[in-house]
């Protein structure tokens, strides 16, 4: 058995270190370390509850709106108010813009450049992948960055700026929209759809969302050559490198449900564990056993969670606590969201090969194709002149839970207010779930499970397969510990 410490991981958000125990060319055990602690949960204590809207987005520059959304929902629950329809649509548009931009950033800037590495020279697809996806210099960067930035001008209209907007309020959006702006947002979505259909998919979005099984995906892939679209090129690589057999965790999936409108989410809420089950927030706990954290030493529900750093704690190996749902690890993200929502392509892929590197990437791209048409509808349905934001008093004593789906998955904020001030604020982020350390029972977190069995080539200091597995989760390390 040899031990390899890998880090820093480039092209993930924030810093990450993974320790691998390797024998006979395979990872036998992995220990995932989130090596940075800032202390937002400590900082928020004693603040005015609305100040959470300034602090929460700044937990993370890449999922700032998700953090705003969770904070606003926690406040809304404490205030017992709901958004008007315009507010819901505007807030959905802003969150969707962030989530899709993140999916795009992940695919083009973070994930695909690994296949352009010289280590893959000799693979039939390598020359075209190197031209297209080489880090920073590939042609895809020059295509995707302006498309992303153009798409994000939606934020200029609906959120003031991104990252770190304060537009998402408990009662709706602080940014009302005029008719000319509604039309501009629709125009931006037309432009973005054009980029996606030309470069990413090489087909209509509706043709992608209609794919309902692995065979259907395969026949769609073969309709045009791999170079005809970035998605097809990925599928060719995935086949050649068997990415569908890499990085499987426990196949338990969690989604809080996404993009609500009049009480109904676009993507459903629930848990997949060999079949669908309802999600009960009461079953969420965080276990501090292997985190550099003091506390009562037993798993706690976030509403009574404690964050007290203890850097010298023996046996701990991460700043990240270990979230569990009824004692079990959960994988979260686009794959989980589409699995829980029951998209037939994702259900079929997971039934055949489980959650793995290939299926995580497919789910992300599928989600782009599913969400853009919904955004088009929300934008068209905005009604200038009707309210965007409701108001209400804030009680001196209150609790609130804010659940949201960010690009990377399920995000929860648990808020307690006493005498008009924040008494406790606990955050459980998507990558906290995915990159959790072990718990008291020794159960590994999802990435740790997924890395076990990953091949490591002779003399590989930074094993490529390990990098694919890590990046397939699209980790956000700054959210993980916060």
């Amino acid at each position: 058995m040899t031990r390899l410490v890998v880090g820093p991981f480039n092209r993930v958000e924030g810093d990450l270190e993974v320790t691998l125990d390797i024998a006979d060319g395979l990872v036998r055990a992995a220990y995932v370390n989130s090596p940075m602690y800032r202390g937002f949960e400590e900082i928020l204590v004693g603040k005015d509850p609305f100040d959470a809207l300034v602090f929460a987005p700044r937990i993370c520059g890449i999922c700032s709106v998700s953090q705003s959304t969770a904070a606003a929902r926690a406040l809304a629950q404490a205030m017992n108010i709901e958004m008007p329809e315009n507010g819901e649509r505007a807030a959905n548009l802003v969150l969707a813009a962030e989530n899709l931009a993140d999916h795009l950033t992940h695919f083009y800037l973070f994930f695909m450049p690994d296949f352009a590495r010289d280590a893959y020279a000799g693979r039939p697809w390598h020359p075209s992948v190197k031209t297209r996806f080489a880090a920073v210099k590939g042609s895809a960067t020059t295509d995707a960055l302006p498309a992303r930035a153009g798409f994000l001008t939606i934020m200029g209209y609906l959120a003031g700026k991104w990252p770190h907007t304060l537009a998402i309020q408990p009662g709706g959006s602080s940014r009302s929209v005029e008719e000319a702006e509604r039309i501009r947002v629709c125009a931006l979505l037309i432009e973005f759809r054009g980029f996606l259909e030309r470069r990413l998919f090489g087909d209509r979005l509706e043709a992608v969302t209609a794919l309902n099984s692995e065979p259907a995906l395969r026949s769609w892939m073969k309709q045009r050559p791999p170079a005809a679209s970035d998605f097809r090129l990925f599928l060719e690589i995935a086949d050649d490198l068997a990415l569908g057999r890499l990085g499987r965790a426990a196949d338990r999936f969690l989604s809080y449900g996404a993009y609500p409108l009049q009480g109904k989410p676009l993507f459903g809420r629930g848990v997949w564990d060999d079949g669908m089950a309802p999600f009960d927030p009461a079953n969420v706990t965080e276990d501090p056993t292997f985190a550099w954290m003091d506390g009562p030493g037993k798993p706690l529900h976030p509403s009574e969670g404690v964050t007290r750093p203890h850097a010298e704690k023996a046996d701990a190996y991460s700043w990240c606590k270990a979230p569990r749902l009824a004692g079990k690890t959960m994988e979260t993200g686009a794959l989980a969201r589409q699995m829980v929502d029951g998209h037939p392509l994702i259900r079929d892929l997971v039934a055949t090969s489980g959650g793995n590197v290939r299926n995580r990437v497919i789910a992300r791209l599928l989600e782009i194709a599913r969400v853009v048409p919904a955004m088009e509808q929300w934008a068209r349905a905005l009604k200038p002149g009707e309210p965007f934001c409701r108001q209400g008093p804030f009680p001196d004593e209150a609790c609130g839970v804010g659940l949201a789906e960010s690009a990377r998955g399920s995000l929860g904020h648990w808020l307690t207010v006493s005498r008009g001030r924040i008494q406790n604020y606990q955050i459980v982020s998507p990558t906290t779930w995915n990159f959790s350390p072990r718990d008291a029972a020794g159960m590994e977190g999802p990435l740790e499970q997924a890395l076990a069995g990953t091949p490591v080539g002779d003399g590989e200091a930074v094993p490529l397969a390990v990098q694919h597995v890590v990046r397939s989760f699209d980790p956000c390390m700054v959210c993980t510990v916060h």
Partner: protein, 335 residues
Amino acid sequence: MTEMLNVVWLQSGGCGGCTISLLNSDSRDLFGSLEAAGLCFLWHPALSEESGAEALEVLERCASGAERLDILCVEGSLLRGPRGTGRFHMLAGTGLPMTAWVKRLAAQARHIVAIGSCASFGGITAAGANPAEACGLQYEGELPGGLLGPRYRSQSGMPVINVAGCPTHPGWVTDSLMAIAMGSFDGGDLDEFNRPRLYTSHLVHHGCNRNEYYEFKASAEKPSDLGCLMENMGCMGTQAHADCNIRLWNGSGSCVRGGFACVRCTEPEFEEPGHPFARTPKVAGIPLALPTDMPKAWFIALSALSKSATPKRVRDNAVADHQVVVPQTKKPGPR
């Protein structure tokens, strides 16, 4: 052909949002333009191919002086805790605090640029009781000092260049880096907090699209109102140094255009305003913090005068989320 400048970018106690914001640049070819301007990114944690040992090799070459380091960019505050050990951020794969890496690299760098308010002053991570002992590269809040100390100078003789903002506008970063690359940037280009004057010589107030409401002191009372955000909603745009309403964000936005207060995120200690962010502190109905360089008595006198002169259109629209009265077309009079 100008000589290429080697750039290394590190991230520590922040959110990564300044890098993410940089990617929102309206350039048609961001990286191509930076390279053409003479900036060669040896390593950036969110963008470069190199990972793990490959990345550490780049950092080691620069830290040891084997490779020239022209510009060191640091994003995020420096985490000195707990109790000065720096353990709150150990750079992955090295077993060393990030603060130690930054000190080594700072000793070699020709220029050092703090990207964002965290790296400049400590920023949001230094809020509250500052549990992570966060500070900036050369400031701790408003006080000179920080990780590198007040006397630190990079090889160029310059102090740390503080591109403050939470997050930074992409243009503040690209313009500052390009100014350095053009060799035309010196101490005279920095303001009293060592921020590039190229964006801090303006106030957020300049170009504010709520200016008519400001003039008449027609104020918003709740989120989504169209009125001026200063009197009630916590806006500090008249005191914040930045050109947010001149450059604009994400095409056509800014905080005040998004309907919420400027929290003066380019200023040191913005994270602790001493009052809830979205509520203006007042004494006897007068906001405590008045516009930079405006005498208080004049402000009060002008406010009273302009409030009494406010047109109905402006007064009504200020507390609505859409124009309930649109500007009238003047009826043609007798010729």
